[in-house]
């Protein structure tokens, strides 16, 4: 992998489980995560369970099939585990499957995979490989529902010139624990839109990494999250610009409400020496709606060449903007309605960027439901 860089941000990967000691919480990549609530996914909990049922609904031309351990597809994205949970999934996953769109295919509707958790006691590990053939165009949606203790690895391979919109929606019940490792490889002139939407779950942690398999690739990562009382939602992103003239654009927006709501966003970008002429921008915005919440936001940028188009990041955490509220109220809008409008306005441009019409309505509705839980209740 050539990761012998002097940086603590991206540890060297290994398939050997013994190279990944049980985390203590002091490690840089674990320091925000409440390990006690991971239900042993990082330690010794048995992962052989079948606590998650899968259901597929989508257009023809998409092959969804189980994979045997050791299949050549596993690892085809260049994925190498860099932490203990994903290394355990690599070795111990009870369910392995592939979603494949052949080359030169254009799907007319999203392929939707619904994973429903049945029990939190049955810790489960899954390993999926999503492959989009060269010059194909597809939208893949993975929905998570119900209660589960799940560790998964999702590999995403986007072939040369292909376009993929990959959406993962965590609509878990309140007691679910989900540790997800996602690794994408984007081919020459291909583009990937990676969308992560998280509303439910007790603890949801996403480690999303992306690399390029040739020049001209483009990655857009969008994230939308809403953390309630006691919820921990963590996103760790790492875009590794390994090829010239590639682009990455990241926008994550979140809202927090209720005592102990905690969100973490880490956005790491590395621009390697050979990655000339690249463009990158990362942005994270957090809206704190009530007292007692904590939003951590850390963007890191490492650049090894000066021959770039542009690189930057921005991060901000704030409460309701009094001026915006005042403006709306001076126009005769009630406080409740004003707050609702501000939150919807905060999320709406992001929802529009996702540009999956099937999802737009349900996302707006979910934002509304989340608001009703707290902010709007207080005022009514």
């Amino acid at each position: 992998m050539g990761l012998e860089l002097s940086s603590h941000l991206h540890p060297v990967g290994s398939f050997d489980l013994s190279d990944h000691p049980v985390p203590t919480g002091r490690e840089e990549v674990w320091r925000f995560t409440p390990l006690k609530r991971l239900r042993g996914l990082h330690d010794g909990a048995a992962l052989g369970g079948t606590g998650v049922g899968a259901e597929y609904d989508g257009p023809d031309g998409v092959a969804v099939e189980p994979l045997a351990a050791g299949s050549a597809e596993l690892g085809s994205s260049g994925f190498v585990p860099t932490d203990r949970v994903s290394a355990r999934v690599w070795h111990e996953a009870g369910q392995r499957y592939a979603v494949t769109v052949p080359a030169d295919t254009e799907l007319d509707a999203p392929a939707v995979l619904t994973l429903t958790g049945k029990s939190v006691d049955d810790a489960t590990a899954t390993h999926a490989v999503i492959t989009i053939g060269a010059h194909s165009r597809a939208t893949v949606v993975v929905r998570f529902e119900g209660s589960a203790t799940l560790a998964d690895v999702v590999e995403i391979v986007v072939g040369d010139g292909a376009q993929l919109t990959y959406v993962t929606v965590q609509d878990w019940a309140d007691d679910a624990v989900h540790h997800s490792t996602q690794h994408a490889k984007v081919g020459r002139d291909a583009s990937l839109k990676h969308v992560a939407v998280t509303f439910g779950g007790d603890l949801v942690r996403h480690d999303t990494t992306a690399t390029y398999d040739g020049p001209g690739g483009s990655i857009e990562m969008l994230g939308l999250y809403f953390a309630d009382e006691g919820q921990h939602i963590e996103h760790r992103l790492f875009v590794d610009h390994t090829a010239p003239k590639t682009k990455s654009h990241v926008v994550y927006k979140g809202a927090l409400q209720g005592q102990g709501a905690h969100t973490v966003w880490i956005g790491n970008v590395l621009i390697r020496k050979e990655a000339e002429g690249i463009e990158t921008y990362e942005e994270n915005r957090n809206l704190v709606l009530t007292d007692g919440c904590q939003a951590d936001s850390v963007p890191n940028l490492e650049i090894e060449t000066g021959e770039i188009e542009g690189a930057g990041h921005a991060s901000a955490t704030a409460r309701f903007d009094d001026e915006q509220l005042f403006y709306l109220r001076s126009r005769g809008v009630s406080e409740k309605e004003a707050r609702r409008l501000v939150v919807h306005g905060f999320f709406n441009d992001l929802i529009r960027k996702i540009a999956v019409p099937e999802l737009e309505e349900s996302l707006t509705a979910t934002v509304e439901t989340e608001l009703a839980k707290n902010v709007l209740k207080e005022l009514s």
């Binding site: 002097s6 940086s7 603590h8 020496k273 000339e276 704190v288 009530t290 007292d291 007692g292 919440c293 904590q294 939003a295 951590d296 936001s297 850390v298 963007p299 890191n300 940028l301 490492e302 650049i303 090894e304 060449t305 000066g306 021959e307 770039i308 542009g310 690189a311 930057g312 990041h313 921005a314 991060s315 901000a316 955490t317 704030a318 409460r319």
Partner: protein, 472 residues
């Protein structure tokens, strides 16, 4: 001769590294290398220090050996602690007027431009540090009348022991980090400033520091106390001659700003490219007080410096302006740290860095908002400019917020000098390196304009020299 030199003939004499000369090294040959208890006891007894200071030094030594080397930031493995002279006493006694200075020291300072500054009364007092101890020191009488103390730190300990003991080591404890411990055990020189209640010092206080002995570590210790509603601006500049083996500079600067006071600390560091510059700087701000660090890092091989401000009282304000240049073989790991420990405190960090010729600049910052510091605001902006393909720039902005009612913003951008900008300037008849220098000057302008005038000029000259040969 380049076009810049043709128009500014005075630059020619300055050469590639304009302060890279060395006087004959009399004091250095006598000093011993390496660090042990004898060296520390020696330093203390030569200075006839009180027992408590010796005890503190010995404690520092013990902690220095116990503390681990930092594993993050720059590569420090090349520092050989056994090959450093920890104390060098200048052969001359402290002088009270310019004429009393020995000839070679006078020459050194002539090149640095001190007498001009003194003559023009641009500076309030010039404490010039020469080989660990201040040999030349003057302060304007009206300041003394106001009760302002501005002396070297050794004199401060001798003449104002009570005040000194009350504050020394309170902002940066002995065992804060490995290099602060090292400094505590072998410190020598630096400035001691006390500004009494309500006194407004109109003109910047300045001090020059120089390392002049090969392998000599410079461990100055600066302590500034700004009493209630007082104001002071302290300016420090560093230059050192070029030597073949690595030098270590590890200073500690402690600043206490009391209620309603304001302190600005400006430093431009231009150590030669073999110096490890590992500095601990920290200030505390009481209610309504303001602290400002203006921090320029141009020289040195490795700099690790993160001026910190602890906002301890309500409505305290902290501001850090930082600028870094990294050329060939240099790593400027600089940044800032802000700790919000009281409600309604605000902080702002503006960092600009330029990397060229394979140099590396890093911004490393920490914003910490403690529980109870509600209504706090923090804003961080860092911009980096890369001049070629082989240079490197990193941004590591840590944020640790334990309070919900805060507003926090961070923004960073990294860009290269665009061909469009160069083309525009060159089509107006400018040479390429001149155009490049102008773009870089424009980039750092927001910070340069905060510097005292003579420093802003020096900075501009340094940029031109740095940018020479950067293109083509």
């Amino acid at each position: 001769m380049t076009s810049i030199e043709e128009r500014n003939p005075e630059l020619q004499g300055l050469g590639r590294y304009q302060f890279g000369w060395a006087d004959s090294d009399e004091a250095g040959a006598l000093a011993t290398r390496g660090l042990n208890e004898t060296v520390v006891r020696d330093i203390s007894s030569k200075k006839s220090e009180p027992q408590w200071m010796l005890d503190l030094r010995l404690k520092g030594l013990k902690l220095f050996h116990r503390k681990p080397m930092p594993t993050w930031g720059s590569d420090l493995s090349a520092i050989d602690f056994d090959n450093i002279k920890y104390f060098v006493r200048s052969s001359e006694k402290q002088a009270t007027s310019w004429e009393e200075l020995p000839e070679d020291i006078k020459n050194t300072y002539d090149k640095l431009g001190i007498p001009e500054a003194e003559k023009q009364r641009l500076v309030a007092g010039v404490a010039a540090q020469y080989e660990s101890e201040v040999v030349y020191h003057s302060i304007r009488e009206d300041l003394e009348e106001q009760g302002v103390i501005f002396v070297d730190t050794d004199t401060g300990l001798r003449e104002h022991e009570e005040l000194f003991k009350e504050y020394f080591g309170t902002v940066i404890p002995v065992g804060d980090n490995k290099f602060a411990a090292l400094n505590t055990s072998v410190w020598s020189g630096g400035s001691f400033i006390y500004v009494p209640k309500g006194v407004h010092v109109d003109i910047p206080l300045q001090a020059y520091f120089r390392i002049n002995t090969e392998n000599m570590g410079q461990f100055e210790r600066t302590l500034i106390i700004v009493d209630e509603d007082a104001y002071v601006h302290y300016v420090e500049g560093c230059t050192a001659p070029i030597y073949s083996s690595d030098s270590l500079h590890s200073a500690v600067v402690e600043i206490i700003v009391k209620k309603g006071g304001r302190c600005r600390y400006t430093t431009i560091q231009n150590w030669s490219n073999n110096v490890y510059n590992l500095v601990t700087k920290r200030a505390t701000c009481d209610a309504g007080a303001t602290m400002e660090w203006v921090d320029g890092n141009i020289g040195s091989k490795v700099t690790m410096k993160y001026p910190a401000i602890y906002l301890m009282g309500e409505h305290a304000k902290g501001e850090t302006l930082s600028i870094a240049f990294a050329g060939e073989g240099q790593h400027q790991d600089a940044g800032a740290k802000m700790v919000h420990a009281a409600p309604h405190t605000s902080s702002s960090i503006l960092s600009k860095s330029v990397a060229r010729g394979g140099g590396r600049t890093s911004y490393r910052g920490l914003i910490q908002v403690n529980e109870g510091a509600h209504g706090s605001k923090s804003n961080v902006l860092c911009d980096a400019l890369l001049v070629d393909q082989i240079s490197r720039s990193d941004t590591y902005p840590y944020v640790d917020i334990r309070e919900d009612d805060v507003s926090m913003g961070h923004e960073a951008s990294v860009s290269k000098v665009s061909d469009d900008q160069l083309f525009y300037l060159m089509s107006r008849g400018m040479e390429q390196d001149e155009a490049m220098a102008m773009i870089v000057r424009g980039f750092v302008e927001p910070i340069a304009k905060e510097l005292p005038m003579e420093y802003a000029l020096e900075l501009n000259r340094l940029i031109e020299l740095q940018m020479e040969g950067a293109v083509g």
